[in-house]
Symmetry: C2
Subunit: 486 residues, 2 copies
């Protein structure tokens, strides 16, 4: 009850609510209208202020969002010219509305999404228009009695079929919007054709306005501060790699030296949650023309695979958490014995991830990778040796007359106490194994995209890396803020 009261007070609408509990209703009414109105206003003001602060933060953290908004405003203002200028107005008539509608609906944040929606709109409209024309012609031939039935049935069947096609993953991925536009155009043309006789005129007008609208959107989104889905995907993957490497280093350092407070500990959570954006960006990137260092046929589909390999690593890092928070902590001297080897494995692993990020950034195969993987394997073996020597410590070779100290040490380390450090080590070894999965995925990308030395030189002219890194950094900070709030 108390909660409900609080809710109603903060929204300032309490007098219109049906409070079932009579007593509390009276309580609320006692407060006096003016006081409550004042409290409501104050609450509203605080909410609005918080909202605006949040909006400001979003704009400051990613100024490109603001640029995108200005681009939408610009495109809409330009398209309005079709109404203002008389010659164009005469030519396109009331249908100029379609151009405005196209701009509003089609303009998306990334160039790829805009192009995808534009092409979907144009082809969906064309296909549906042609089909609707056929149905209309058939309906006219069938006379007044059967015509409406033919139109009605065809609308029912095609709308149902097109709606169903949107459930099929391959269609949904590429033509979801096109299917919707198909239904829309088909219904409009088939039905309105029954009344209006200027079907060709209508089709021509609609198509031309849509083409004007989509061309404008594509041009504005590609020419003015373009945001390429491909480049975003590429930045996301590389920055996620850096985050993964930082988290891995951070966790291992945290475990062995809890005093070194590391801010980047939770950065790997971004890797866990970026599946959906990776996939949608890879989809949109396929529609984009060549830009920056990316050719038109750049294998975008490979990036989500790299993302999946990274996620499989991140799951293990998530599990590392448990060892750090565990109540049973291994005695310091055991930790010390393993720390050098563990730190070596983690630094080798994270440097592999960083080199892979570098490989993708520079689009140049690194000669170091094989050597680094070898080194990581060596470090893992060394860690396993350290574990063996640890087991020798707790299992002194048979029962010679060992010193009392050693025997005491032996008895004070039950397996239970070694458990967290053993689990930690074992997860670390698993992480290093999963990193090989990332290496494989990146190597496949390098193969399919034909990464080579020459690519680096070509890329150096544009040098998008610095900007992307910077941008990655602001996003990092944003993420850390969000995580800290959580």
């Amino acid at each position: 009850m108390a909660q409900e009261k609080k809710e109603t007070t903060s929204s300032g609408l309490e007098w219109s609510l049906n409070v079932e509990d009579g007593s509390s209703k009276i309580l609320v009414q006692e407060a006096g209208l003016a006081t409550r109105a004042w409290l409501g206003l104050k609450g509203l003001f605080l909410k609005v202020r918080k909202f605006l602060e949040k909006a400001y933060d979003i704009g400051v953290n990613d100024p490109r969002k603001v640029v995108h908004c200005l681009k939408v405003g610009m495109a809409l203002t330009i398209v309005s010219l079709f109404y203002y200028m008389r010659p164009l107005y005469e030519g396109i008539g009331g249908n100029a509305m379609w151009a405005i509608m196209t701009v509003v609906v089609v303009f998306e944040n990334t160039a790829g999404a805009t192009i995808s929606k534009s092409l979907n709109r144009v082809f969906g409209t064309c296909l549906a228009g042609l089909l609707a024309f056929g149905v209309h012609w058939l309906a006219c031939k069938s006379g007044e009695k059967f015509g409406p039935w033919i139109v009605g049935t065809s609308v029912f069947l095609l709308a149902s079929a097109a709606t169903f096609s949107r459930f099929i993953p391959s269609v949904k991925q590429l033509f979801d919007y096109g299917a919707m536009i198909f239904i829309l155009t088909f219904s409009l043309v088939a039905v309105s054709g029954y009344r209006v006789d200027q079907l060709f005129e209508l089709a021509y007008q609609r198509l031309s306005t849509i083409i004007i609208g989509t061309s404008l959107c594509i041009l504005v989104s590609m020419l003015i501060c373009p945001i390429w889905a491909g480049q975003e995907l590429y930045a996301l993957i590389t920055s996620n790699m850096d985050k993964l490497a930082n988290s891995l280093d951070g966790y291992v350092a945290e475990y062995f030296n809890p005093d070194d407070s590391n801010k980047n500990l939770l950065a790997y959570k971004c890797v866990l949650n970026s599946k959906a954006s990776e996939e949608s960006m890879a989809n949109f990137a396929r529609w984009e023309p060549a830009h920056g260092c990316f050719s038109f046929k750049h294998p975008w589909k490979q990036y989500p695979k790299i993302g999946a390999a990274m996620r499989s690593c991140a799951y293990c890092i998530e599990a590392l958490n448990s060892c750090i928070d565990s109540e049973n902590q291994a005695p310091e001297f055991i930790k010390k014995q393993l720390s050098t080897a563990c730190l070596r494995v983690s630094s080798n692993s994270s440097s592999i991830i960083r080199v892979l990020a570098e490989t993708i950034k520079a689009m140049k195969r690194s000669s170091k990778i094989e050597f680094l993987v070898e080194e990581m394997n060596g470090a893992v073996e060394e860690l396993q040796e350290a574990l063996k020597s640890l087991s020798e410590l707790s299992n002194p070779p048979a029962c010679k007359n060992t010193e009392t100290v050693s025997s005491a040490a032996m008895e004070t380390i039950p397996l239970m106490e070694v458990m967290p450090v053993v689990t930690f080590t074992s997860l670390l070894i698993e992480i290093s194994a999963r990193i090989k999965g990332i290496v494989k995925a990146v190597e496949e990308l390098a193969k399919v995209a034909a990464f080579k030395d020459a690519a680096q030189d070509k890329c150096k002219e544009n040098q998008p890396n610095n900007r992307l890194e910077q941008q990655g950094q602001t996003k990092d900070e944003e993420t850390m803020k969000v995580l800290q709030r959580v």
Copy 2:
């Protein structure tokens, strides 16, 4: 190159492609047009067949999708009546198109999504219409010189601001579509108002057709075989719980008895990947009226929290994988020593998850939960005891004159070999700790949604559980198929 050739052959478009490598171009041309056309047709036919088979599978696995498509077809056919029937045609005129457009754009799979989009459309249109009317009035007062500037500037500013608002998470969650409709309507009314003088007439017509369209959509989606986002969310969460429990049981059984092949092993992957759908469904469910056992104010926001707690468990199950595939396997007798305790922890843990699923399904607090958690804690302690006795085995209490057998056994079990089983056990203990997080989340839901005994009786009348379970099962099978293909 070989790959490129294969690609072009299967798409049947090889003669129009620019092959940079001359030699392979000649090779392709040698094949003969007829043969290549035949191969292309065959490939196309196979692709179409595969596509249709996939579509058929989707329909069979979830017949409600087919029903949804028929509902869309029906709503569109009904709305077409506005064109066929003369009296209505006279009344609503060319604007009846807006009703068709509304149905196409607003009709979504779940009732919640349809209601959300409908309300967004109506309120976005109203708000934008009022604002646009104000701007139009101001523009008219300012004369021919300043009028266009006022309209243009207002379109630019409001479109930019509304586009920006779509980046703010709280707005995006609830009013994304409304913001788009706001931009659309404002632009159309403000700009067209500059030409057409019947602004009130236009606004009235547009609003009435939109209300007709949205009402029709809401009615059809709620009255004919409704698919409630809330019920879907509830089914997803409970079926994911069962999957998690099955996977956990399966993994532990697989580790200790590798011969028992278990199909449900990978079911937990669904839990890892359902974050996005949980969140979107929780958003849509908030718009739905009371249905089934759910009141209007049902705390839908709580379900994604339960989902998050389950995911944190699933991450650990993912890490369990590594122990099963590990090269180092503990000797059988050590495994045997731990198996009883491990199996007890896992069966206790999974039965807790199942009881939680039951709690949500029946909307009734279970009296067993506390007891089961106690029992799980007991099983964990027992497992820790078993580990202790294991460490005694490898660390025989100091150096009495132990028998040779024991000393030999001790030396044959280095820590390296015990490592996987220790890691497995430690992850299992961590999973049981994380299950307490699920218990907490479900208890919070039970508290906020006021689960009690009476709720169960109310629910029994509708009994959606059987249908939901069945549906969950077909989805399970679908998932398993997908996973097997991967």
